[in-house]
């Protein structure tokens, strides 16, 4: 079978090798890490050993010199690891925290943060959302005050993936007293006494660390301003497209895993003298799921292709994110239902997949925000 565009034979070979890694090194530990509500930091080093933390980054920083398509393969394959939180933790590092540094960072910043991040030596997090401002970025309150040699940061951040374990936080702060989108800047904060983080318990993504963070007179040196001062809003927008594509790809991967798992269950589970697939209504549910997975994949690949070719793909990426996140949760919910009582039990892992998928319509911009963006793009 020839690879599905936009992927090539080379991408499919990479897929094989990533899947082997995921099944051998991650999958066996998923349940343990979920229960611990943590996966060990060494996991980053394991990824790095295979070059999987730098697929799309330049070789001079230790990357593989590939592109977003290589990264896309990794995102899809991580669905096989059995833990959305693990995929989220690694994804937050490679696809959310480091891309702004790769794109807007100075050479010095790339050497100090991107290279060690690719090597799995430093773990990164992106910190934008606050307790009182999520979707509404203009409502951010954390602020940086100019001091000799840099800034002093005060404020708090919420729902920060890798927030507890990170070595550095790419953080959005107000650098002027102006309201609205202006006066936002990004600073790279290092671990220090003035930065504290505590884990937050969640519906799903149990293996990932999600933090409530507090900055109390945290110092940031001059050279850690990322991008231009007071133009942080542009930086936020720049990575949104890729982050949303990552979410769409992750959903496609997860749906496929859930479908395969549920078909296997439905074929071997008997009720009323025949396998579940022998019951028309249940069989049709599976047919619907297969259709949803296919539609989601096609829409996502289309957006990915447009994104990679460099055109304006805001509309398609936003649609892909909107279409796949709710679809993924619905698929998981139906798979849970098809498992009956077993679906409600932790042992079968379907409930975990449903809990993990529920973040999709909220994280990376809620479904409602996606519709708002589309309303603007479509000039409604």
């Amino acid at each position: 079978m020839s690879p599905e565009p936009p992927f090539s034979e080379e991408h499919e070979a990479l897929r094989e090798s990533i899947r082997r890694f995921v099944l051998a090194e991650l999958r066996p530990h998923a349940t343990e890490w979920e229960a611990a509500r943590w996966f060990p930091d060494e996991v980053f080093a394991k990824f790095a050993a295979h070059g999987f933390l730098g697929l799309k980054y330049e070789e001079r920083y230790g990357g593989q010199g590939g592109d977003f398509l290589h990264e896309a393969i990794l995102v899809e394959e991580l669905a096989h690891c059995g833990s959305g939180g693990l995929a989220a933790g690694v994804g937050a590092h490679t696809n959310i925290a480091t891309p702004p540094i790769a794109k807007f960072g100075t050479e010095d910043q790339k050497q100090r943060y991107l290279a060690p991040a690719i090597a799995g030596e430093k773990i990164g997090a992106l910190a934008i959302t606050e307790p009182d401002a999520g979707s509404d970025v203009a409502g951010l309150k954390s602020h940086a005050r100019r001091v000799d040699g840099g800034w002093v940061v005060n404020g708090s951040k919420m729902f920060i993936t890798n927030g507890v374990r990170a070595h550095f936080w790419v953080t959005a702060v107000k650098t002027t007293s102006e309201g609205g989108h202006h006066g936002l800047s990004f600073l790279i904060l290092d671990r220090q006494e003035g930065v504290s983080a505590s884990p937050i318990k969640k519906l799903g993504w149990h293996a990932s660390d999600t933090a409530l963070m507090a900055f109390d007179d945290a110092f940031v040196p001059e050279q850690n301003l990322l991008g231009r001062e007071n133009e942080g809003f542009y930086l936020i927008m720049a990575n949104f497209q890729w982050e949303r594509l990552v979410m769409a790809l992750g959903a496609v991967g997860a749906m496929q895993v859930a479908y395969d798992k549920t078909v296997a269950y439905a074929k071997q589970r008997n009720a009323f003298g025949k396998p579940l697939t022998g019951h028309q209504a249940l069989r049709h549910k599976l047919a619907d799921i297969a259709t949803t997975v296919h539609v989601s994949r096609v829409v996502t690949y289309d957006a990915l292709r447009r994104f990679v070719h460099g055109g304006d793909a805001v509309k398609e990426v936003t649609m892909a994110k909107l279409a796949t996140q709710r679809a993924c949760f619905d698929v998981m919910d139906t798979c849970l239902q098809l498992h009956g009582g077993a679906g409600y039990m932790e042992e079968y892992e379907i409930e975990r997949m449903a809990r993990d998928a529920r973040l999709g319509p909220i994280g990376g911009g809620t479904d409602e925000i996606m519709r708002e963006i589309l309303s603007k793009v479509l000039a409604l």
Binding site: D136, A271, G341, Y344, M345
Partner: protein, 398 residues
């Protein structure tokens, strides 16, 4: 009542919500259960999610008379009507612990009714009287690892031993609520494997009988405060007098029992959805984004309108069906519809409430995600959605 003012009839959103099936006594009972749940149960809800709720909840509720609201006074019950058990199911929502409400419902509305309906006087004295006091805890064993919806497919065998006039039971049961704490199980077994539905017999098996093994506590998506057991029965011997009801009639006994239980379940779903709606309404009025309360955005406002409409349809369907049930009808089709609809809309409402909460909805602290996890069981337990659809569909001769 809406009042006419200047000849214009104005909508009265504050009108009493009391449905005609409920009397003032029901409303007083409602108040007293709510107050109990809020004061004595809800403060422990988070803790009990970790530990499961303590047995003392049964004794306390027994003292208060809440475990026998609709049971005969001769058995120590309150002698109330069927609606009193609906009131209990609705108000226990204020304990903010789905697992607790389920543990209680299994005791009062699943395991107890068949003993009262089909048990001998001795059996009632031995199990029901102390159960209403909360001194003994009941559970019900239907589902097995290989047979859930398909009750006729169960494999647990009870074989008669003429020498001792005993039955020897072997098999396993799973997803048994109260399974670890129960003193007795209403156990569904096969006494004649070739007789299909006619070969099923119920037994009252003391949980301390030799050969009853309480295996691991099962971990679940929700209902964390309830204990859910996998049980094994290994050569468990019970006297022939342990049969509940008639030998070979177990399937019909249980089918009857399921009807009352399903309606109680529907009432719990409606109340759960309403509580979640109320909590989220408060949040939507407080939470600001883009310069206003999020509830003031049209899309969010419409979400509330949809939810309220769904809840109201499920409530009316449940109450009207309860009215028919209480009048002595046996409206299996409508009960199945109420159970199906209430379970579905409650999960939809909880999911929408998570969405309205945004990131906070995904976090444990806000309690909404737990409501969804707990309510999600209702589309599976006590007959899945698909089984309800079967029952409804077949009721039309299809």
């Amino acid at each position: 009542m809406a009042t006419a003012e200047n000849d214009v009839l104005k909508p009265d959103f504050g009108a009493s919500r009391k449905h005609f099936i409920f009397t003032d006594e029901h409303e007083q009972l409602r108040e007293s259960i709510r107050s109990f749940a809020q004061k004595e149960l809800a403060p422990h809800a988070e803790e009990w999610e970790e530990t499961t709720f303590p047995d003392s909840v049964f004794t306390r509720m027994g003292e208060l008379g809440f475990l026998g609201l609709d049971k005969a006074e001769a058995l120590g019950g309150q002698g109330g009507d069927y609606y009193t058990s609906l009131v209990l199911a609705e108000e226990l929502v204020h304990a903010r612990s789905g697992g607790l409400a389920m543990g209680i419902a299994v005791h009062t509305d699943m395991a107890m009714p068949p003993i009262i309906a089909f048990g001998t006087e001795e059996q009632k004295q031995e199990w029901v009287v102390p159960a209403i006091k909360g001194e003994k805890i009941l559970c019900l064993g239907i589902t097995e690892p290989d047979a859930g919806s398909d009750v006729a497919g169960i494999k647990t065998r009870a074989i008669y031993d003429a020498a001792t006039d005993e039955y020897v039971i072997n098999g396993s049961k799973t997803y048994i609520t109260n399974g670890h704490r129960a003193d007795v199980i209403v156990l569904v077994t096969k006494t004649d494997p070739d007789a299909g539905h006619g070969g099923i017999t119920l037994f009252l098996v003391p949980m301390d009988a030799p050969g009853v093994v309480r295996e691991q506590r099962l971990k679940k998506l929700g209902m964390h405060s309830s204990d859910t057991a996998l049980l094994a029965f290994q050569d468990v011997r019970v006297p022939a007098s342990a049969i509940l009801g008639e030998k070979g009639k177990g399937f019909y006994h249980i089918s009857w029992e399921l009807q009352g239980e399903r309606l109680i379940g529907a009432a719990g779903c409606v109340a759960g959805a309403q509580a979640c709606f109320d909590l989220t309404l408060k949040y939507a009025l407080e939470r600001q984004a883009f310069g206003r309360s999020i509830g003031k955005f049209q899309v969010i406002r419409h979400k509330f309108a949809e939810m309220a409409t769904k809840i109201e349809t499920a409530r009316q369907l449940t109450y009207m069906t309860a009215w028919r049930f209480n009048n002595g009808e046996y409206p299996v089709r409508e009960i199945s519809m109420a159970k199906l609809h209430a379970a579905r809309i409650s999960v939809e409402v909880a999911d929408e409430c998570i969405q309205i909460h945004g990131g906070a909805g995904y976090m444990t602290e806000y309690g909404v995600e737990r409501v969804w996890r707990d309510l999600r069981l209702n589309r599976i337990g006590a007959g899945t959605d698909e089984i309800m659809l079967e029952v409804i569909g077949r009721s039309y001769g299809l």
